[in-house]
């Protein structure tokens, strides 16, 4: 099956520090649902940064959507980024824009006309339960509401790859289930989903999902208990 992402001997270090990710060899199948787990400091956020092209690996190769992008010229990256939706742990909403404008941003960046923005954004805000908060700015929204705006922004463009860093960390159980329902629905439509989380309940409640476990910057499966571990391309990861 085609891979949306392929990591080949990937390593990452920040500046002159030690490697935070080492020898990552794996592939993410197109249309699959993955949970990325591991203790704090294991390198989950760094791995996600590599996935959504916010960071280049210091060694190894990364292929996204079939293209080798580890050393691609930076001006070639935007079209690939538009195919990726990202839910950040800290939401990363633009404070002076309304919830509507924050959600509409990916569509506008992609060149959508105003008349093609209104409907999808209203629909998406309604889906995450924020239809009546469209004109509210992030500082006036609760943490959970900001999380939902961030998720709406990440999925508004129907991305081929959705990357979420602790997406349910600021919402109640009911909303967490609804958001996971959205992710699952997107996954059924063909979007590859990668969710970094510590929430075991969430993992167990998502049927068919596979797991990637990181420890100390390397991909591990020490107990062999991982559910559907991703198939390594080489090595023992």
């Amino acid at each position: 099956m085609a891979a949306v992402a392929e990591f080949d001997s990937v390593g990452l270090r920040y500046g002159t520090g030690a490697e935070v990710l080492r020898d990552l060899d794996f592939r993410l199948r197109t249309g699959a649902f993955y949970f990325l787990t591991g203790p704090s400091g294991a390198g989950k956020t760094s791995l996600l940064k590599l996935l959504y092209l916010a960071q280049r690996p210091t060694r190894g190769r990364i292929k996204l959507f079939g293209e080798e992008l580890s050393e691609a010229a930076r001006e070639t990256l935007p079209p690939y980024r538009r195919r990726i939706g990202v839910v950040f742990q800290d939401f990363r909403l633009i404070r002076h824009l309304s919830a509507f404008d924050n959600v509409a941003l990916p569509l506008r960046v992609a060149g959508a006309k105003d008349e093609d923005v209104e409907g999808p954004v209203r629909e998406m805000l309604a889906w995450v339960g924020l239809a009546d908060r469209a004109s509210a700015r992030p500082p006036t929204l609760s943490g959970g509401e900001q999380q939902r705006v961030a998720i709406a922004r990440a999925v508004i463009n129907r991305p081929e790859l959705l990357v979420a860093d602790e997406p349910t960390g600021n919402v109640d159980a009911d909303m967490a289930n609804r958001l996971m329902g959205l992710f699952t629905a997107l996954n059924r439509l063909g979007t590859t989903v990668v969710v970094a989380t510590h929430d075991v309940g969430l993992i167990n409640a998502t049927a068919g999902a596979q797991m990637i476990r990181l420890e100390g910057g390397t991909l591990v499966d020490p107990t062999g208990s991982l559910r559907n571990p991703p198939r390594p391309t080489r090595g023992s990861a």
Binding site: A54, P78, R81, R82, I84, R92, H96, L97, V109
Partner: protein, 289 residues
């Protein structure tokens, strides 16, 4: 080509209200005001130099040292030369009056020898060597002086002042460009988060740059026009109405071409600021992934 100028309301909202309080328009206005005044002065000086140069280009003075020479006969001889278009003798009384400014009443003394002086204009294409020989034959010992040699120091000063004015205009333009670079960097710092988010969702450097380029272009345009209008008013006041910039240069005026150049300066400054802002922002963005 100018799509970036036509931002939709959502695009305008991206930079928020904070950028509207930036001092860029004020800085550009001061630069524009100063550049306009200096440029007007330089242009008026150029006109003065041109008028003076044209007036003395063909003018010569014939100094006749021997007092008592028949100046009228000599004047008639000079006038009769085919290469001379006009000639006038400077009356001795006028010479003495001029000398009186430096010498006082002694200038009136008959003991003070005063040379005879004939000012004349030659026709274009005159053989100066031949003319000198001819004059020596009719007035031996007479000294032929070109007016342009007499006023050469003044002309050099005028040329130097024009160069200084041009240099100041260039320096101020460079200072305006530097101010724009600082403003662009400040704006990038202020909006770093917005830029990161935009890059993260696939915005290109050009899309991000257009936001800042448009903002700085508008600021520069407002500042340039405001400074230009203020400078125009000052020039009008100095000139007392119709004769532009007259007082600045001792009577020299600005012609239609000069006024056109001055009118275009604010637009040139706006264009410079826009290009500089675009380059500065693009360069800064390239430092990020």
């Amino acid at each position: 080509m100018f799509d970036w100028l036509l931002a939709s309301p959502p695009e305008r909202r991206l930079l928020g209200a904070a950028s509207r309080r930036a001092p860029t328009p004020w800085v550009i206005a001061i630069m524009s005001f100063t550049i306009m005044l200096i440029a007007a002065t330089g242009l008026a000086l150029a006109n003065t130099a041109g008028v003076l140069s044209r007036a003395i280009e063909t003018r010569y003075a014939l100094e006749v040292p021997a007092a008592g020479t028949n100046l009228d006969a000599l004047l008639a001889s000079v006038r009769s030369l085919p290469s001379v278009s006009s000639a006038d003798a400077v009356p001795e009384s006028e010479m003495r009056s001029t000398l009186e400014r430096w010498l006082g009443p002694a200038a009136k003394s008959r003991e003070l020898p005063v040379p005879g002086l004939i000012n004349f204009d030659i026709r274009p294409g005159t053989d100066l060597g031949g003319l000198r020989q001819h004059i020596q034959s009719i007035a031996p010992g007479a000294h032929l002086v070109a007016h342009r040699d007499s006023v050469a120091p003044l002309m050099r000063s005028l040329t130097l002042l024009q160069a200084v004015a041009l240099g100041l205009v260039l320096l101020l333009s460079a200072a305006a460009a530097a101010a724009v670079v600082l403003a662009a960097r400040g704006a990038l710092d202020t909006h770093r988060f917005t830029i990161e988010v935009m890059h993260g969702i696939g915005a290109t450097d050009l899309q991000v740059t257009h936001l800042f380029q448009r903002k700085i272009a508008i600021d520069a345009f407002i500042g340039s026009i405001a400074g230009g209008i203020a400078a125009g008013l000052v020039l009008l006041l100095l000139a007392g109405g119709a004769a532009f910039a007259g007082e600045l240069t001792g009577g020299a005026t600005l012609n239609l071409v000069d006024l056109l150049i001055l009118a275009l300066l604010p637009f040139a400054l706006t264009a410079l600021a826009t290009v500089v802002a675009r380059t500065a922002v693009l360069r800064a963005l390239r430092e990020a992934l």
